[in-house]
Assembly symmetry: C2
């Protein structure tokens, strides 16, 4: 056992006896590594017989393809990067799922990052992603740091900005105007007779979609001649349910005769409604409340919540589809496009004029 002729295998850590390469599979089968490589792709010309033998060997040996080596020589990483502000309890998780689903069976893998609504963090993440040489990248929103824009330009890969219509798009866009969507909600409710509008949102600095919704609100209230809008800023985005509750209290303290409160998201609207009920107010009897995003909670909640339905999942799918187009047809007809996604007002109990809760 302790013969002097033992090889010095000190480098081998416990249990890493598995550095199995394509070459060893090849040797085992009696073909060249190149043939094994071909067998892993469906288009390559390998005889059915050989492919079968190779795949049996792969199974027997437990070989797993090493894409990091492959992507180096093929110069295709097989990655798509996507950055979303947050993944918790938000519309963006649906978008992420849409991207994931659209990427299925394309051989592309999603690299997901959370920017936490910060352009600086986004910049860092963009750099981290680009180090993996993704073949395309999907961003949320249109405001990026200068350095981020420069890196993206240099990268020479298709970029899709989502969830907004940036003033200066980098490349492709899949989104909608948050301001106009909110404006539509204001007009719809105004046409039902509501006059004294309040608004609840986060502090605007970081969440550009939130601030677009707010501006859309303020502008439209003004245009309709309904006096200055009553807007409350509460907490850093994403504003929580609890903050929605706190905000509605502040708002009603300051402007007690408010008739309807629009919220930057359904979550804050839900928090506001629950807080009102807790304080014995009836929704929509004493106060009407609406949200944004059409989360599941809004159709289930009692009272159900009026909101704007946005095709979150579709944004993800379409963004990914745009990217795949750009990757396939690269070379021609890759004109940067803006894909507008739909939204619609969903009227529910929480703003029902005849209603009581």
């Amino acid at each position: 056992m302790t013969n002097g002729d033992e090889p010095k295998d000190k480098r081998l850590k416990a249990g890493d006896a598995q550095k199995l390469t394509m070459a060893e599979v090849a040797k085992y089968v009696g073909v060249s590594a190149m043939t094994v490589s071909r067998a892993f792709r469906q288009d390559a010309s390998v005889s059915e017989e050989t492919r079968k033998r190779i795949m049996e060997a792969v199974d027997a040996l437990g070989y797993v393809l090493d894409l990091s080596a492959g992507s180096l020589s093929s110069r295709r990483s097989g990655f798509i990067a996507a950055l979303v502000p947050s993944i918790n309890n938000s519309n963006f998780s649906d978008t992420a799922r849409g991207i994931t689903d659209a990427l299925e069976n394309t051989g592309l893998q999603l690299l997901l990052g959370y920017t936490d609504y910060s352009a600086e963090k986004e910049e860092k993440l963009i750099e981290a992603m680009l180090r993996r040489r993704p073949e395309g990248i999907i961003l949320t929103g249109g405001s990026h740091t200068d350095r981020a824009r420069r890196m993206l330009d240099k990268a020479g890969i298709p970029v899709v900005e989502t969830w907004e219509i940036p003033e200066e798009p980098i490349n492709h866009v899949v989104g909608f105007s948050n301001g106009e969507a909110m404006s539509l909600l204001v007009r719809t409710l105004a046409s039902q007779g509501y006059r004294r509008f309040g608004y609840i949102g986060g502090t605007t600095a970081r969440d550009t979609r939130g601030s677009q919704r707010r501006s859309g609100f303020l502008k439209t209230v003004e245009e309709l001649g309904l006096g200055p809008g009553r807007a409350i800023s509460f907490g850093v985005p994403p504003i929580t349910m609890e903050q929605g509750g706190q905000a509605v209290v502040s708002l009603l303290e300051r402007w007690p005769d408010t008739e309807v409160v629009l919220c930057v998201s359904d979550l804050s609207a839900f928090g506001a409604i629950m807080e009102c009920k807790r304080r014995g107010m009836s929704v929509p009897g004493d106060i009407a409340i609406a949200g944004f995003g059409d989360y599941e909670i809004s159709s289930i909640c009692h009272p159900s919540i009026t909101t704007i339905n946005v095709d979150c999942y579709g944004i993800g799918r379409q963004a990914a589809a745009r990217l795949l187009d750009a990757l396939q047809g690269s070379g021609e007809a890759t004109g940067d496009e803006i894909t507008l996604t739909g939204y619609r007002v969903v009227l529910r109990e929480s703003t029902d004029r005849g209603g009581a809760a």
Copy 2:
């Protein structure tokens, strides 16, 4: 323009003039590529002066490190893989965030996949992940296909299973007993005088945590001598708010005198409560309802929802920490460990015996 001596640059796609390598940065600065490589790492010995010049050049040229090349030669991919059942509206998004946060500043990047509660999909994802040669992998739950287990064994990387206590752990575990947690909730409510218990969950086949909660419920109700538990299965996991509402209706049709209904998650509990209110029943006056998971919604909802608080975020952080430990101290003291995470009953209005809504 159409001279015969034009180089045939058909291979060059529009805008990929950016194949900048470390060697070119090196030439630009007048050092070797190796020195540039060193400059990118903090520990390497490069003079401050040289590093500064290199970084300026990197900035000027817009060079971005290529990790896929680096990981091939260093044999460290810099990836950690994590698989969760779903990311939408679920506790797992918090776990994913915990992992992400724990990985910050470690130079490791998260590869996230969604198994959709399917062991087959998990198997496929495990293979896809292993092709990227992750340095460790975090799974949800303890049931995997045989092939998945074999691949994980062969991979020779640390594995952390989370959210449960598997009977046969692969390696490390960070989780808790879902059955015991549910049992605790039953006992707590029984001690408050509740006798006729109902249960709402999804069809059990795929969601092992869900079925553990169900068994915990049934077993404990039995043990307490409270007759056979009244359990409803409704829909494939993850059960939605809406399904929670439908399920509570079925349950009450079948067993109208049920006093308290425990739900597999807070989301279904919320749906159940809202449906009850919609039908004019008072919660907890006419029926008490409890959930599992302590989602934000449960503390905000009116009535607030009794539930089991689970440290979702902490599970993610600890799983990642366990992995980092295993990667650092690789070679010694890597005994597989089971890390138990805490849970506690949170009593709220929805099961308040004196209460009305």
